[in-house]
Every structure is written in structure tokens, then in C-alpha cells.
Subunit: 497 residues, 2 copies
Amino acid sequence: MKNTSLTDFLLQRVERGASASRPALAMNRQIYQAIRDAILTHVLPVGLQLPSSRELAQELAVARNTIMYAYEQLIAEGYLETRSGAGTFIADTVPVPRKAGAPADASDTPLLLSQRGQTLVQHAGASNVQWGAFMPGVPDVTEFPHKTWSRLQTKVWRSSNVDLLTYGAGAGYMPLREAIANYLRVARSVNCDASQVLITTGIHQSIDLAARMLGDAGDTAWVEEPGYWGTVSMLRSLGITARPIALDADGICPPEAELATPPRFLFATPSHQYPLGSVMSLSRRRMLLEYASAQRVWIMEDDYDSEFRYESRPLASLQGMDSGARVLYMGTFSKTLFPGLRIGFLVVPPALAAPFATGMSELYRGGQQFTQAVLADFISEGHFSTHIRRMRVLYGERLRLLQQAVQQHFGARVLTSGADAGLHLTLRLPDGCDDAAIARAAMAQGIVVRPLSAYYRNPTSARGLILGYACVPHASIAPLFARLATIITAHWPREAH
Amino acid sequence: MKNTSLTDFLLQRVERGASASRPALAMNRQIYQAIRDAILTHVLPVGLQLPSSRELAQELAVARNTIMYAYEQLIAEGYLETRSGAGTFIADTVPVPRKAGAPADASDTPLLLSQRGQTLVQHAGASNVQWGAFMPGVPDVTEFPHKTWSRLQTKVWRSSNVDLLTYGAGAGYMPLREAIANYLRVARSVNCDASQVLITTGIHQSIDLAARMLGDAGDTAWVEEPGYWGTVSMLRSLGITARPIALDADGICPPEAELATPPRFLFATPSHQYPLGSVMSLSRRRMLLEYASAQRVWIMEDDYDSEFRYESRPLASLQGMDSGARVLYMGTFSKTLFPGLRIGFLVVPPALAAPFATGMSELYRGGQQFTQAVLADFISEGHFSTHIRRMRVLYGERLRLLQQAVQQHFGARVLTSGADAGLHLTLRLPDGCDDAAIARAAMAQGIVVRPLSAYYRNPTSARGLILGYACVPHASIAPLFARLATIITAHWPREAH
């Protein structure tokens, strides 16, 4: 390639204006990139002499500085070399040929993702929509006391505490761990002190940490059927087999045959089963605790929305009944404050506190102490309790409005469950009903509902809809449910009418 | 147990004052817990009648409401039952005996942690100290423009945008992804648009995501020897074998024998090798890119502190030279802003953008859009560039002060490397020097240094110290290094004097 053709080559490649997709780069960057790409693709051969910066600047009609900048950068990076008195040349950076394994077969389908990556994507459960009627599991974030939070935030920033800005060591910001321990002891009868509380980014990280620290690839975990998709996704990507165990009226009910081969973990939502909303009976709780203690099973108690109980006082946690130190208790501020906060907690038996704190540092590098400090103040100044009390009243009203709407449209034709607590109501539909089709039809009208059948891993005849009411304004509940009722009725199986 | 002995039992268990470790629970909670524990441990048998609330209140000398509250809670939870006209009794909640596997052997050592959990704890690399001279990898967080950040934060909170508070979908807050893409294209010659940028909580989460999405248990990754402990910890806990590959003057240098069996991943720090500080040569870059393309290896480029370059203009990223879409580029704001922020980014080839976004939702449930929005404003208003420019000058001065101190105490007796960029200087010591002992002795005097030998996985004769200078005030550098020099001299091997 002669110098004139280098000029042509560059003229073809530089853009003078911005394209639609991205702003045009500065001219010197464009020239730098064009020459570099030409070297990398062997268009410009090793040893070729480049025109002088003055000459090239003239030909391209740009400032000489522009060319000098590009050349200097290419020299600094080793693409070009200057030979004293002779000029600027393409340096020899062609890689030394190396022996290597046979090149990958080009006809081979390019399997970009790993097996576990493919499985994760195929079984994805997270929705792209995270707000609106009747999205389950999402609180009304518009009711969050923004001003109070913002004020506390400004106060904490003003303190300019270096420890809040650097890497966090281990289990989290101690005053927050203390505030959570105090709250859990009183509100949930959790038997713990601050040293057992680890601050995580939520239930997912709590599961991830426990599954790595206590489980190896090839281990088994029992999960509730139906149950939360996230637990299964997390376990699977760590090589742990999630075994769906059906529920009976008392809660998760491992059959005799399963009991003979104890799993490494048992995941349960004893206070408010997700998604059915039932409460695990005392007798089942005691059975599982004794079994876990005798067989060294780790019980993972997910207490995701127990703060909102409308019909009765909240039940104590399973952890608080456990004398065998086999229960790990998980909670989150996603439902009580707002999901985007990404703060949850994991309470572990005393013997696990130190290794788990080390594990957290290693796996996640601690941090966000700043937000943790704001939350600690928010709790200790009483704003957390106030907010929960206020939301409990608000959500209780919304629940009643939804129950009335269901009653009005369907009367005794549908059963509901889960009304004593939480942020969602489960509506049971007759077996022949295509709940997934209802969800799709509702989504087309801008209404989010989750089909019950999607919470099962094994084939099931259970049909229903999970309706979150927490983030729906009072006045919208009846009209939006009326629209949903029309869709449900259109999908109602004939024989069930 | 008779009623009088129930009274005695309760009198022994309730505390009237606060103990040292935790505040006393309300009396009703204490009575509730004492009765519940007695039921769970079979101290109170099934069918036993309890004294009336009036009677028990009198005996314990507490208000009748206190006992009624405790009884009601125990009835609500199923521990007690009332028989109409007869009184309150211990309910039958003794679990049904179940067949089960043989109980775990009690003589068996209680292996609490999983294999991978034990390995993680045994090889823990994170330090409990995260601040002070000469902690490597930590920027001067006291120089962070707190007021500007706090102002932007208040502004974003005032906007009350619901999307910032609920769960985030996928890859992160779009305006931040755009700001990062624009920055990386210009500053690091990264070839990307916003759709390829995923917002993570830092390098660790970027590694975790890539290792799960692209790697299965049993896969191999090449890592630099010496190198960052965190990469190895993350990979190991996902079942991926980290194979240490020695460096030569050009960078990571896989021997012929290794090249024949390509790994799934190659992890490298081409711009500023961690911890040695060298720059990967252009010829090695091209060799690795061609090898990765032919053998379908994923190159994980960790560009952790390339923003701070003192001697020359920054080198372009490896990603920007890659025509085969085999490079994933990782960066972080931990070094440029502050570590506690926990925001980093992963740039993936276009084909991986969608599955990676899905994987993020599944594994981590997105969030912290609020902080992401503040950072997006911080960048787009120009504060990020201003801060980096200011810090580059400041750190450059500190580096020179440290180099002068080293020169003054040791002259030509020690070599340093890594002075052209980053936040740390690597000081090479003679082979016989016990660098770990120096680090311990320094720590005893409150000086943090990392021994070079700790960055090696295989036995090594390399000895040295990694000295972070970024978070040490100008005036402290010379006196603190003088103290460290005394310790080094005391550990200097005789034959090397």
C-alpha cells in the first residue's frame, strides 16, 4: 500500500459528522483507530513507512496536531516505531506462531453459553415488568417516606466517615446488624444477637452464600412445590439439585421414601407459604426441626413478608423454635421498604457466624456501608416501625377491596388463599383453566398476574392466579379486577360453569 | 408438673431487669417464650391444664393482661388450646414419628461447612483492614466530592421516580449504561454500545456472572501468576479450576504444553498487571486474541485501575483490539470513586448481551437503580472526569514521594515496578527475604503492606511488598516508609547485604 492509498483508506474510514447510533469520535481517535485496525488485520504490512504527519495532514485536510496525536498514541502502544532520521514505520508486532490444539471445528454449533447458563436462561422466572396491578411481591414504593430517608442520607454523608466509603469487612455495618437483631428478637422471636446477623443484598445473595458455604455440587435441597422460582435458579447454578416436595395442609410434606435419604438443605416459607399463603402447622414445624437435627439437614427459613399480617398476630419464626442450631433465617427489606434498596439479612447459628463473614468478604467484597448506615438510623429512630404499621393498615384495606371484587364477580366459584398475611392473594381456578393464557391475555391489557401453574416444577393440575395488591391504589382495584374478571370468564372451562 | 411448679418454673426464667448482653424482653414475651420452650422440650406434657390467667398473674405478681397476651399468642400459634368451659390445655403438637434414614453418627466430626466453603475460608485473601498506609488498591476516599454527590442524591430522591425504587430489570439503569459506554469508547478504546454494558456490584460479581453463564463445573481458567486472589476464590467456589500461568516480560505466557489444551477462560490484567504493574506487550495481545478466537477461549480483561496513568497516555484496551468477540471487559468505580459504592461494569460481546441481562435478573435480582441514577448524573455532568484528573495529579505526587523514600533508604538495592500507572508500587526484595514476616511486623506497628509471595498459588522464590500510596497523605509517606524501611532492613538476608 502506497502513501496515497493510505490516504484513500483513511478518507473512506473517517466520519466527519455524527452517525445515528453514536456521536462521531474526535478525528485524531478515528485516524488512530483506522490505522490500528489496518495493522491488526494485516492491511498495513510490517515495515511499511508512513507519510510524515505534515504530509498526511495536508492530504486529509486536517490539522497537523490531529495526525501527530494519532501517531504518538500508536507509537506509545507499540504499533508504530520511529527510526531516527528515517521516519515512522509499522512495527513488527505480528504474534509468534504457536503450536496449539486443533482449531475449533467451524461447523460445530457455537455453544456460547455454559450448560448452567443455558438452563438459567431457559427457566428464567424474573419478569421484565416490576410495577403495576397486580404484580405480586412488590410493595407500594410511592408511600415510602422519601423525605425522611433523604434527610438521613444527607446527615450520614455530612459525617464523612471514611469507614463508610471503603471496602466493608465481612458481615456488614455493625449498628445495622444490631438494629436488625433487636427487631427480629421482638417481632419474630428469632433467637440471635448481632454477631449472627449478616447483611446481604437480599434473599438471592443469602441463598447464594449459604448454598456455597454449606453445599457442594451434587448435593440435594428440598424446595416447596409450588415455590419461589429464584431458589431453584440459584441452587441449580451452583450444582445443587432442587427436589420439589409437595405441600399438604400442614406445610411441606416429605414422603416416607424421601425421608430415608436426607437432603443437605430444606427451603421453606413457614410463616406465609409462597405462593399459596398457608401457614406451616406447629406439628410439622416440630417434625422438621427434629428431623433436621437428627439428620443434620440445614433448614433455610425464608420469612419474606411476615411483617404484614392482618388476621392475627404474627407467628413466631421457625428459627426461634430451633434448639439444634440447624435453621438459617432469611429476611429482606424489599417488601417492607423498597426492592431497589437491595438490603436483606441472613441469621446463622453461632458456629457459622465467623466463616460466613469470611465467605462474604471473599465472594462479594463488602460495601454499601453508607446505605447500611442510613438504614440503621432509619430503624433506630423508629421510622421503620412507623412505616410498617402504616403500610399494614393500607395493605389490609387493599386486600379487603380485592376480596370484595373477587366475591362480587365469582362468589363461591373461586377459592382464595393467603389472605391473612403478605402482599398477595392466591386465587384458585378450576383444573381445566389455562392460567398461563389468562396471564398473557391480561398482560396484553396491561395487567400483570402470575399463573399459579408456573410455580410448579413438576406437571400439575393446579391452576390459579397470584394477585399482588400492595402496589395498586385503592381506587384502581375494583375496575382493574373487573377487567381481569372478564378475561378469566372468557377462559373458564365449559364443564366447570 | 402442677400449677405451683409451673409458677416456680416461670419465676426462675423471667428476668425483671436488663442483662448485660441484651435488653430484657417485655414480661409477656418472656412468659410466652418460657412456656413455649417448656412445651417444645417436653417439660410441659400434652394435655396438661394451665392455671387461669387471673390465677397465674397473681402468683407471678404481674398484670393479668400480661398473662392473657402470652396465652393468646400461644393459642394463636397452636401451642395451647381452649376447651369451652374447661380451661386452657397444652395442645398435642408432638410430631408424628416418621421413618427416616439412620440418625447421623454422633462420633462423626461435625463437618459444618461444605468442601467449597472450607476451601474459601482456608484461602481467604480479603483483609480486615481496608484503610491506611500502605493498603493497596484503595483510593483516597477523603478526596471524594461528598457535597456534589450528596446534592445529586437529594435531587434524584426529589424526582420520586418509581422505577428507581422497585426491582431493576436485567442489566442496570440505562442512562448509566450509556454514560459508561461513552466513557469507555473514548478513554479506553472499548468497542461497545450501551446494550453491551451490564452494571454489576464490582469485579467480583462480573467474574461470578461470566463464570456461571459461560463456564460449567469442571472447566479450566488460566489466571496470571502472580495474580489477584479474588479471581481464584470466585472461580473455585463455582467448580472452575484456576490454573496459574507464569508471566514473562510480555505478560501472561502460556507454555506450549498448556496451549495444546485450551481453557474455557483466560483472566488477565493487560493494562497494569496485578500486582507486578507491567503492561502486556502488543505482540502478546495479538497472540492471545488469535489463540482465543481460534480455540474459542473467553478472555476476561480486568482493567481495574487503568484510569491512573502517570508516565504516558493510557494504552487501549484488549477488548478494543478484538475482532473475534472473545473478550469480556471488566471495570469498577471502586478505584476511581470509592470502594463502598459497589458499582462496576461488564462489557460483553453483542451476542451475549441479552442472555447475560437475563442471567443477572435471575441470579441477583437487579436494584440500586437509585445509586446508579446518581452516578449517571455524576458522570454526565462532568464530575467524574474532573475527579479523575484531580486524583491523577494527587496520586502522581504521592507516587513520587514514595519512590524518593525508597531510593533514599535502599538506592539500587531494591527494584520497583508498576510506577507508570495505578495505585500501588511493587517493591522487589531478595529471594531469601521473608516478605510475609515483614508484613506481619509492619502490621504490628499499624502499617499495612501485602507480601508479594502471597499473590502466588504455586511455591515461588519471588519476594517483595505491594505498597498502596493512594490513600496515604503526602506528609505521612516519608516517615511511614522510614519505619517500614527499618523493618525491611531487619529482615534483610545476610548474604544479600
